[in-house]
Symmetry: none
Subunit: 407 residues, 2 copies
C-alpha cells in the first residue's frame, strides 16, 4: 500500500517553517505497514494544488494532506479536493452547532467564515479535532483513502493517533523499535554496532543523534507479525546486552517522563535549583501532566544574590570558587534540601555561553549535584555546541543522572 | 521563475530524518527571487525517481535535488537524471585524478565504485564539494537549470552558498515582511484585513496562527527592488495603523527577546514566579544570551507550601480564594518584589490541565500579575487547548503583558 503525504501551505514552501508533519506522518504510516513513498509540498494556490492532488491520485492508494483547513480565504484544501473528486461540499448541521457552541464557550464572536469549517464533501466523514477549530475529513472513493488534517502539529497528531490510524491500517507489518542512549557518541556507537550479529536481510538498523542522546532504531518488515516481532526482539536483546550502561529507555519516551514515573513509584517529592539551564529542567518536568504529585518547587537562581538569598550559598564560596564550581553546586543542593521537605533535589550551575567562558572555565562546563537526605553526588560535565544545545544537553544529562541515582 | 526542490532518499521518506534541506533551500531561493513552489521527496528507487523528475521538468524552471550522489548502489540520482535527459555519463579525467589523490591523502584504499563520482552528464559542470567526496552537478538544458547536490547539510549548504546561488540568481525581487500580533484571533484578523485597502496584484498577504499569536505576512514581488520595497512598506503602514494595539513586533523576532531588550534599555532587573507555566517563561527568557543582565531569579512555586515559603502568600488566601485566583497572583508578585531588588516582577498561576479544572475554575483559567515598585496590574485569561498549548499561550501572553506594561 503506497501513501503520499501532501503538505499544503505557503509557509512551508517559502521555508518559513520546517515540515515536521511529513516526518511525523511518515513514521506513523510505517508503523501501520504503509509505505509513505511520496512527500509533496505545494503553496496555497488553487490550480497548483489541484494538479498536485491529481498526480497523487494517480500514484498513491492513501493520500494524507495537512494544512489549508482553517477558516480564512487562503485555506483551500477542502474546496479543491472536493471539486477535483466531484464531491460537492455540504454543510453539516451538527458540526455547525458545535462551532457556535465553541465560540460561545470561548466568549468570542463567531464570524461567518468560521462556518466554512462545518462543510464536508458529500459522503465523507468528519474527524474530530479536540485541540482546534478545524475538523479533519475522511474520504473513501474508488478504493482511494483521502484524509485531510489541519496543519498545526498539536492538532494533527492527536487526530492521527486517535482516529486516522484505525481508518487506514493494513495487513502488513512494519515494526519499529528504538533504544535510547545517553553517554555514548553516534559514531562510536555505530562502530560497536557493526561488530554485533544484528544485521538481517529486510531489517534496518540505524542510529540517530539528538542533543545529548542517541537512538538506535530497528525497522523490521514482513507479512507475519509474530515472526517480525520475534526477530526485532532478538536484535533488541543483543543491543541491550552490549549497551546496557548507556540505555535509559525505549521507543523515545522522554527521559523526564521516566524520571517522573520513578519518583511517583517511590513517592518522592523533588525540588530543583537551576542556574545555566534557566528553568528548562523544571519546565520540561512540568510539561507532563501529574508533575504536581512530585515537584515541590524549582528555583532559577540566576544571579549570585539569588543563590545567596534563596539557597543560602556562602558569599565566600562564590568568591573563592565562583558560581560555576563543585562547591557552589553542592551548597545550592544543600540549601534547597534544607529549606524544603523534598526527598531529592538537583542543583545545576554552568556556563551556557556564548559569553562568560574562560580558559579554566570554558563555555560548556556544567556542575550538577543530586542530593537526598542521606547521600549526594556531584557531576562535572563538558558540553559542546551553541547556547541552546548546551542547555538542552545539560537538561537531558540532569534527568539521566537523577534517573541513575534512583536505580 | 519557479523552482522545485527534490529530496531523494529513503531516510527522509520513512521519517527517519527531518527534511531540513527543503526548508533551507526554500528560504535561500526566495532570497534570490526564485519561487520554490514545489517540494517533493521520493525514496531511492529508479522508476519512481524517474517519474518524479519528469513531473518536475514539466512544471519547474529550476530543479534542485539533494541526496543520492554517493558511491554506493542505492545512490541513483545522477544515473536517473542523465538518462531521463538523454545526456550520457562521461568520466572526467581531472576529477578522476582528484579522487585518486584524495584517497591517497587520507591513506585509504579507493574502491572502483568511488570512480562513479568522476562521472558527469554530457555538457554539465561539476560543483566543488569541500566537505565530502561527492561533487555536485550543474546542468543547463533547454532553458531548464538542474542542480544536483549531496544530501548531508554540512556538504550541501556551503556548495549552495559558494557556487549555486551565483548560477541561478535572477533579476527579480521577492521581499517578505511580517507583523506579529497577540490578542486577536486569526479569523477576526482576516475579517478586518479584508476591509483594508492592502490587496494588490502580485502581492500576497497571508495570516498564520501560532500558539497564542498571529503573524501577518506580506510577500511582495517584482522586477524593481525599490518599487517592491516601497509598496510592501505602504501595506505595512496601513496594517500598523489598523492593528497597533495588537502588534508587538516584526519579522518574527520572539517576544521574549523584545521584552529583554526593553528591560535592558530601562536598566530594569526582573524576577518571575510561576506556577502553571512551570518554568517555561523563565527558560524562554534564559534561552537568550544576555538574560543575566536582566533576570535576577525565577521561582517555580508549584506546591502551595512553596508559595507560602518562598513568596509569603498567606495560607488563608490560598484557603479562601484558592491557588488560582487574583488574590494569590497579587500576593505572589508582592512577595517576590519584596524579597528581591527587582524593578519589575511577574507572577502567574493557573490551571494547565488536563486535570484540576472545575466549573467555577475551568482548565485554561490563568491569572497574572505584573508589578513594579509603584504600580501593579492583574490579568485574567481563559486559554484553550491541551496542556502544552495552554502553557505556551500563557507564556506568550505573559511576555506580551510585560511588554505592554513597559510601554
Amino acid at each position: 500500500m503506497i501513501a503520499e503525504i501532501l503538505t499544503i501551505g505557503t509557509e512551508v514552501i517559502t521555508g518559513s517553517i520546517l515540515n515536521t508533519n511529513a516526518q511525523y506522518l511518515a513514521g506513523k504510516l510505517m508503523d501501520l505497514g504503509i509505505e509513505p513513498i511520496y512527500h509533496t509540498s505545494v503553496d496555497d494556490n488553487k490550480e497548483r494544488l489541484r494538479n498536485v492532488f491529481k498526480t497523487s491520485l494517480d500514484r498513491a492508494d492513501i493520500i494524507i494532506t495537512t494544512g489549508g483547513l482553517g477558516p480564512t480565504q487562503d485555506d483551500l484544501t477542502k474546496e479543491v479536493i472536493s471539486s477535483t473528486l466531484e464531491l460537492p461540499l455540504e454543510r453539516d448541521s451538527s458540526m455547525e452547532e458545535n462551532i457556535r457552541m465553541m465560540f460561545q464557550n470561548m466568549h468570542r464572536d463567531m464570524t461567518e467564515n468560521n462556518l466554512k469549517q462545518a462543510e464536508r464533501p458529500l459522503g465523507s466523514q468528519f474527524i474530530e479535532n479536540s485541540n482546534g477549530t478545524a475538523p479533519g475529513i475522511f474520504i473513501n472513493k474508488n478504493g482511494k483513502k483521502i484524509i485531510l488534517l489541519p496543519g498545526p502539529p498539536k492538532e494533527m497528531i492527536p487526530m492521527f493517533e486517535n482516529y486516522v490510524a484505525g481508518l487506514i491500517k493494513e495487513d502488513y507489518t512494519i515494526i519499529q523499535k528504538s533504544a535510547n542512549l545517553i553517554g555514548i557518541g553516534e559514531s562510536a556507537l555505530e562502530t560497536e554496532l557493526k561488530k554485533l550479529d544484528v544485521y538481517t536481510n529486510g531489517f534496518e538498523i540505524a542510529t540517530f543523534a539528538k542533543d545529548g542522546e542517541v537512538e538506535i532504531k530497528i525497522i523490521g518488515k514482513g507479512k507475519v507479525r509474530l515472526e517480525v516481532e520475534e526477530k526485532v526482539n532478538e536484535i533488541l536483546d543483543i543491543i541491550n546486552k552490549k549497551f546496557s550502561e548507556f540505555i535509559y529507555g525505549y521507543d523515545n519516551i522522554p527521559i523526564e517522563e521516566l524520571v517522573l514515573n520513578r519518583l511517583k513509584e517511590k513517592r518522592f517529592k523533588m525540588s530543583l535549583c537551576e542556574s545555566c539551564t534557566g528553568g528548562l529542567i523544571t519546565s520540561r518536568l512540568t510539561g507532563i501532566s501529574g508533575a504536581s504529585e512530585v515537584l515541590d518547587r524549582g528555583l532559577v537562581t540566576y544571579s549570585n544574590q539569588a543563590k545567596i538569598d534563596e539557597l543560602n550559598v556562602k558569599p565566600l564560596t562564590l568568591e573563592n570558587h565562583g558560581a560555576v564550581s563543585r562547591e557552589t553546586a553542592y551548597e545550592m543542593a544543600k540549601g534547597l534540601i534544607e529549606k524544603t521537605n523534598s526527598d531529592i533535589v538537583l542543583s545545576i550551575t554552568g556556563i551556557a555561553g556564548p559569553l562568560g567562558g574562560s580558559i579554566e572555565k570554558p563555555v560548556g562546563l556544567v556542575y550538577m549535584c543530586v542530593m537526598t537526605r542521606d547521600n549526594y553526588k556531584i557531576y562535572e560535565n563538558h558540553f559542546t555546541g551553541n547556547r541552546t544545545s548546551i542547555q538542552n544537553r545539560a537538561t537531558i544529562k540532569a534527568f539521566y543522572e537523577i534517573f541513575n541515582f534512583l536505580r
